[in-house]
């Protein structure tokens, strides 16, 4: 492939990926309520967005669910990975098979399978109803496998003798785990936690089936907005989210390159 052809091709792919986002950003500043005609610059949709208590509330709901589910999934998943790592090959494969079910299954199937469980449970006990708790459980469930998948390779890559060495020097088992093993697998845990958090924040399908009517996350609110007559508020919201993600990624990227550079420097000295 010639250099120009490569450039053109990359440009077209990126244009395809970013065109809709660009359109949303531009129309978020539209002076009129139209999604095809652009007339005059205005910030009115941003103002409307911040006055919409439903959106703000569902956004904070999303954050709460994402943070809680990521935290719980990270704890359960990390300990699980430690145990799974110690298993014999056959048991480990069995566990990993189950672990992969929520990863591989279509979201809609995972969603309705849990919904059936919750509806069944609610109809039997007549105590709970679909809402915060069912949503939290559902999110933890689809987050856990990703934590396990991130932590397990770090454990496998670690020299097993490191744990033994800590015991050998008189450190009791649990303390050894926290003092020696945990720092080694920390990068995997952090990646797993971040992944769980973003997956949870972004999830629509599983939340849609398991949230009931009382508790809405942001994606559910966005979905109901697409059903209603058009409001450019959705553009303003998307633009803000995009800028937020962009800044976040830039920070992560900068930090990564900086630590990489630091490492290089250290190795040189």
């Amino acid at each position: 492939m010639s250099k120009h052809l490569k450039r053109l091709y990359s440009f077209l792919i990126f244009a395809f990926l970013y065109a809709p986002i660009l359109v949303m950003v531009v129309y978020s500043f539209n002076g009129i309520k139209s999604r095809s005609v652009f007339e005059g610059f205005s910030l009115q949709w941003y103002k409307a967005l911040f006055e919409d208590s439903l959106i703000l509330e569902s956004f904070s709901n999303s954050l709460i669910i994402a943070a809680l589910s990521a935290l719980i999934a990270t704890v359960i998943g990390t300990f699980a990975a430690v145990g799974i790592n110690k298993m014999k090959k056959r048991t480990r494969s069995a566990y990993l098979f189950v672990n992969n079910i929520p990863v591989v299954n279509p979201d809609i199937v995972t969603a309705i399978s849990m919904m059936i469980l919750f509806v069944f449970f609610v109809s039997v006990t007549k105590m709970f109803e679909m809402g915060f708790w069912t949503l939290l459980i559902a999110h933890i469930t689809f987050n856990i496998p990703y934590v396990v998948l991130n932590v397990l390779p770090k454990l496998r890559g670690m020299d097993n003798n490191i744990y033994d060495a800590a015991l050998d020097l008189g450190c009791p088992p649990i303390k050894s785990f926290f003092k020696v093993v945990l720092p080694q697998i920390m990068p995997g845990i952090v990646t797993g936690a971040i992944m769980a958090f973003t997956l949870s924040l972004d999830d629509f399908i599983i939340s849609y089936f398991n949230s009931g009517t009382s508790f809405q996350t942001l994606p559910i609110t966005i979905y109901s907005m697409t059903k209603k007559p058009y409001s450019p508020k959705i553009n303003a919201l998307s633009t803000l989210l995009f800028v937020f993600v962009l800044v976040l990624m830039l920070i992560v990227n900068l930090r990564q390159t900086r630590t990489a550079k630091d490492k290089k420097k250290k190795e040189k000295s």
Binding site: V23, P106, V109, I112, S113, L117, I137, V148, F204, M249
Partner: protein, 290 residues
């Protein structure tokens, strides 16, 4: 004399217990319930009647598979060259390129799909734009009808899932040992030959996991078909959704469960076929970036 003294629940594996309990409660039991509901009626008695609905929706199933397959193929055709171009970039630039590929994925896919609505609509941006040109050229233009077609759904699928295809292929391409390529060149291979005999076969695991990562969500989607198909085109995802969350008269968990079960079997079978092509990599999603 062989004796296993280790108890089933040895102390060191207590760390797995919460996980094991959780996975049984919220993954295995729910799937069991799907199977149970698929084979029972509203009163809980055994029936095969729900399965007869599969026949009724055979056409929908076929359409879902067809659209998902078309999207997967288009994704593959678009993604492979892109992944290849990125993998051949200088290392410092690869990171930023991948970041740019992933960035749209971080936007909620509802929003991304919704944006296409704006673009494809009858009086959307494309039609307005072409209309303006037509007017300028004084040509009669009635507007393309793009939204609410199968084409729009395929576009939405390709747009949403293209990064899922690029990333795993890119990952395996970067992992190919450069000395292999050099060795092949050394033995007198042309670049086409090197690609056909070395790069292509070695990138199979990435392609396989890319195909899985695109096909599975595409075949089961109900949002893309809902937003871009305008309710005219029902895919199997929409049918299932309707049986669980539709208007109260339409709700029927048993039929929904039966259809979901079929969807699940479809995925398992297609993954089985895929793994047949990719015997070497043992884990699910061999090239998946996590």
């Amino acid at each position: 004399m062989m004796k296993t003294k280790k108890p089933f629940f040895s102390a060191k594996n207590l760390t797995v217990t919460p996980y094991a309990v959780w996975m049984v409660l919220f993954v295995l039991i729910p799937i069991g319930l799907v199977v149970y509901f698929a084979f029972t009626d509203a009163n809980g008695t055994f029936t095969l009647e729900n399965l007869s609905y599969i026949k009724r929706y055979a056409e929908t199933f076929w359409l879902s598979v067809e659209l998902a397959l078309i999207s997967t193929v288009i994704c593959l055709l678009l993604a492979y060259p892109m992944a290849f171009i990125i993998a051949k970039m200088p290392t410092e630039r690869q990171g930023s390129a991948i970041l740019l590929i992933m960035l749209p994925m971080w936007m909620n896919f509802l929003i991304r799909t919704y944006a296409w609505m704006t673009i494809l609509e009858n009086n959307g941006i494309i039609n307005r734009f072409v209309g303006m040109i037509a007017q300028w050229l004084q040509i009669e233009f009635e507007g393309f009808s793009m939204i609410n077609t199968n084409g729009a759904i395929v576009l939405g699928m390709v747009y949403n899932y293209l990064p899922y295809m690029i990333l795993p292929i890119y990952t395996v391409l970067t992992k190919i040992d450069n000395s292999l390529i050099e060795a092949a060149r050394d033995l007198g291979s042309s670049s086409v030959h090197v690609f056909r005999r070395i790069i292509a076969p070695l990138s199979v695991p990435g392609v396989i996991s890319g195909i899985t990562m695109v096909f599975v969500p595409a075949v089961s989607t109900f949002i893309i078909s809902y937003l871009l198909g305008g309710g005219k085109t029902y895919l199997i995802g929409n049918i299932i959704e309707n049986y669980f969350l539709g208007s109260s008269g339409a709700i029927n968990y048993n039929v929904g469960a039966a259809l979901s079960l079929l969807l699940m079997i479809l995925i398992v079978v297609s993954m089985g076929i895929m793994n047949h092509f990719d015997k070497d990599s043992e884990s699910v999603g061999g090239g998946m970036i996590v």
